[in-house]
């Protein structure tokens, strides 16, 4: 199978190289671990939609010796390896492919532990890294049966069977389900490490009890306060400190553990860095005085956290009316800019006010809203300024569960083979079933259920922030949407929205400006 994949992979990389060449005039700045230098208080980086900005609200950062930027593990990676400023503190697949070309696959991001489809595959072969190179996915390996955040063993409500294992990892005698230390490997995108005050807040929605199943909120061990549990795709850790500790051990393969001083520096850095699109290629400066107060990094740094947006006093993204109808004298040179600004404003209204039937989403349609519920994008993406949920934002949208997950069409004319693993989940009769998929579920990634062991959590993923989207394609936790257009089209198909061409373009323009 590896040999069948390789020609296509090389073809893909070649095509992407051509595409990247078109943008070669403005190569994105890559921060290598330990290279030193100063990360400015404010910097911008180009992307296909314009520029993303990175704001260090506490001032410039000297990266030499800083644990976020130093290779603190044994595989040469630093935190910055997968959280690049040019990619809105995440990592785009374009940047990954560029690193492959520039380093011939030796950059630490391609480390075998999780930058390879499964450790032990042939080094230097793009096919060994196909999920990272094509979809920007790193391997996340979790124990089975699950353990909670405090290490307590969980008796799962379901059994799990490997139906398809294109990476070989889930059936591997060393890394798989039947190994001496049984693990499940799923493949996920790195999340943006920016604007963190919005998912470490203690405002609206953060209480002692979750409500989505019998669950007490995970507390910060140091403060004793409940957390929003909005940080990771499966909410398995929920503070910046515990995430750093976990990532250092798994992704960076640190020998031992991070000491308190380094942890504190990492957390301090992550708590003050903001990222958002600041310039749009057609709409121009997104932060100009008098412009919409919802755009750009400075507005993001200044806004309140823990606020549920609403449609009367505090929109999710407060763009106001300033771009709704712009006077453009005949022949004015700023006409194209104004048309794009008007499109972005309309796109906001599509996001905020265009209703459709949201249907069969576990942990959304099951929490008291009814199924279906006639609402808008902002119903789920409701947190002011970020479009996350305010707390406990996991739900099964269908991005990883069949029948909605992106699957490779199988037919004699398609050379491509499925890339993602497929698991069969069989829930015990005593367990509450998944409300819309029942007790037998096929999934590429059980998501939150790999932590809770609950049938109702199969396929539930914590939703992400909308900021800096233009800088960090692809999207969804499994990288299944290659572009913002793909992202919008998924929802259009999933909920039979029926966007007009104008609505679709406006929404894409709006999202690309965030």
């Amino acid at each position: 199978m590896t040999h069948r994949v390789r020609p296509f992979l090389l073809l893909t990389l070649a095509a992407l190289a051509v595409a990247a060449g078109l943008r070669a005039a403005e190569p994105a700045r890559w921060w290598s671990p330990g290279e030193g230098g100063r990360l400015p208080a404010y910097a911008t980086y180009p992307n296909e939609y314009g520029e993303v900005g990175v704001l260090n609200s506490s001032g410039p950062i000297e990266t030499k010796g800083h644990p976020f930027f130093e290779p603190i593990g044994t595989n040469g990676r630093a935190c910055v390896s997968c959280h690049q400023p040019a990619n809105a503190m995440s990592l785009s697949v374009a940047a990954i492919q560029e690193r492959w070309r520039a380093t011939k696959g030796t950059d630490p991001i391609f480390a075998a532990i999780d930058g390879m489809n499964c450790p032990g595959l042939p080094a230097g072969d793009p096919a060994s890294h196909s999920l990272l190179l094509e979809r920007g996915l790193f391997r996340v390996f979790l124990p089975w049966p699950p353990v909670t955040h405090d290490g307590t063993a969980v008796d799962p409500e379901f059994s799990i069977e490997v139906v398809r294992d294109p990476t070989g990892c889930n059936t591997s005698p060393r890394y798989g389900l039947t190994s001496a230390t049984p693990e499940i490997s799923v493949y996920r995108r790195p999340r943006p490490v920016a604007n963190t005050k919005y998912f470490t807040h203690h405002g609206f929605g953060v209480t002692s009890f979750v409500g989505k199943g019998p669950l007490a909120t995970v507390r910060d061990a140091e403060t004793g306060l409940p957390t929003s549990m909005n940080m990771m795709a499966d909410a398995r850790v929920s503070t910046l400190k515990t995430q750093a500790m976990s990532a250092a051990q798994s992704h960076l393969q640190i020998a031992g553990a991070l000491d308190e001083a380094r942890l504190r520096k990492i957390v301090e850095f992550e708590g003050q860095v903001y990222s958002a699109q600041v310039r749009h290629r057609a709409a121009g400066d997104l932060m100009e005085p008098g412009g919409p107060p919802g755009f750009g990094v400075r507005n993001l740094a200044a806004a309140s956290t823990g606020v549920l947006g609403n449609n009367t006093t505090q929109w999710v993204f407060p763009v106001g009316d300033v771009w709704k109808k712009l006077a453009t004298p005949a022949g004015a040179t700023d006409a194209p800019r104004n048309r794009m600004r008007e499109s972005i404003a309309r796109g906001h209204d599509v996001f905020m006010f265009r209703t459709f039937w949201i249907r069969d989403v576990q942990h959304l349609n099951t929490v008291g809203l009814g199924n279906p519920t006639k609402r808008t994008c902002s119903t789920c993406h409701g947190m002011h300024m970020t479009g996350m949920d305010v707390a406990n934002g996991w739900m099964d949208l269908g991005a990883t569960n069949l029948p909605w997950a992106r699957e490779e069409p199988l037919n004699p004319w398609n050379q491509r083979k499925p890339q993602m693993p497929l698991f069969k989940i069989t829930c015990k009769a005593s367990a509450a079933p998944h409300a819309f998929l029942g007790r037998t579920i096929y999934t590429q990634d059980p998501g939150r259920a790999l932590v809770t062991g609950r049938c109702t959590d199969v396929g539930s993923i914590v939703m992400q922030q909308f900021r800096g989207l233009a800088a960090r394609a692809p999207y969804f936790a499994n990288g299944s949407a290659e572009s913002i257009r793909d992202l919008v089209d998924f929802y259009d198909r999933r909920f039979n929205i029926g966007y007009t061409a104008q609505e679709r373009d406006d929404l894409i323009n709006f999202l690309s400006a965030l």
Partner: protein, 262 residues
């Protein structure tokens, strides 16, 4: 099972209803059916059919509303009283009404009706879609007058459950209140008593919750409070069957009573 006068009255009313299909104000209606959602030019409304009559259950509101809409893909247990009010969306209103989404999937429950002008709902002022405060949003449309803050904190709490269901999203708020009281009062003991109940349907049949649901409810509450940090408290956990249903307020039997002691 003994036939009490109230039970006999309900059975008679059920029999009468099945013959006449009339729905007189004040009559109890308890039945299992597929919910139906009808679109309108504003928010959708939820209906169910029973014995040839259409009943209005609720509007789409928000998670904090007293009544949450049911779910297509599942049957719903409807327990309500026929109201002496005009039809809404073509259905006779049931007020009060308790709706329980039954856990197992029923793919035959899939009816969505299009909007029709005759079933239009108007709201003044008009409410735009999207997350909102105000009417049909996070506030109760008919909020009770604010009462003065009691000098003594409440010590007894009741969690009401959907049929055959364990903890639900709406319970998080009550659990938070319990935790606050335990912490503020430095409570030493929490008594948890859970009930498994049955419902007497309008057709005379009895629908009984599954075995073990009472125990599960009780143990789940104790576990949640412990996980929330209330580990220094003694828990007295018990479960039992609710009294036999009489078809009048059977939903009240599906509950967990919690008493906080110093």
């Amino acid at each position: 099972m003994t036939i009490t006068p109230r039970r006999a009255a309900v059975l008679f009313a059920g029999l009468l209803a099945s013959v006449t299909t009339s729905a007189a104000p004040g009559q109890q209606r308890s039945f299992v059916a597929c919910p139906i959602v009808r679109d309108t030019s504003t928010v959708p409304c939820w209906l169910a059919e029973y014995e040839g009559e259409t009943y209005f259950l609720t509007l789409q509101t928000d998670v904090s509303a007293p009544v949450n809409p049911p779910q297509l893909g599942h049957q719903v247990l409807v327990e309500g009283v026929v109201a002496d009010e005009p039809r809404v969306c073509g259905g006779i209103p049931l007020k009060p009404v308790v709706l329980s989404v039954l856990p197992e999937i029923d793919s035959s429950c899939s009816t969505m009706l299009p909007a029709e002008d005759r079933y239009n709902l108007t709201f003044e002022p008009p409410r735009p879609p999207g997350p909102s405060r105000g009417r049909l949003a996070f506030d109760n449309p008919n909020p009770a007058p604010r009462r003065a803050v009691p000098e003594t904190l409440p010590r007894t709490f009741t969690l009401q459950y959907d049929f055959d269901s364990a903890i639900a999203f709406r319970h998080a708020g009550v659990l938070q209140q319990i935790q606050d009281v335990v912490v503020k009062q430095k409570a030493a003991r929490v008594d948890i008593t859970a009930y498994r109940a049955a419902s007497l349907l309008s057709n005379g049949k009895t629908l009984t919750e599954r075995d073990g649901i009472g125990r599960r409810r009780a143990e789940q509450i104790a576990s949640l409070l412990k996980d929330a940090g209330l580990t220094a408290v003694t828990y007295q956990v018990q479960w039992q069957d609710a009294p036999p249903p009489d078809g009048l307020d059977d939903a009240a039997g599906r509950r967990v009573d919690i008493v906080v002691h110093d």
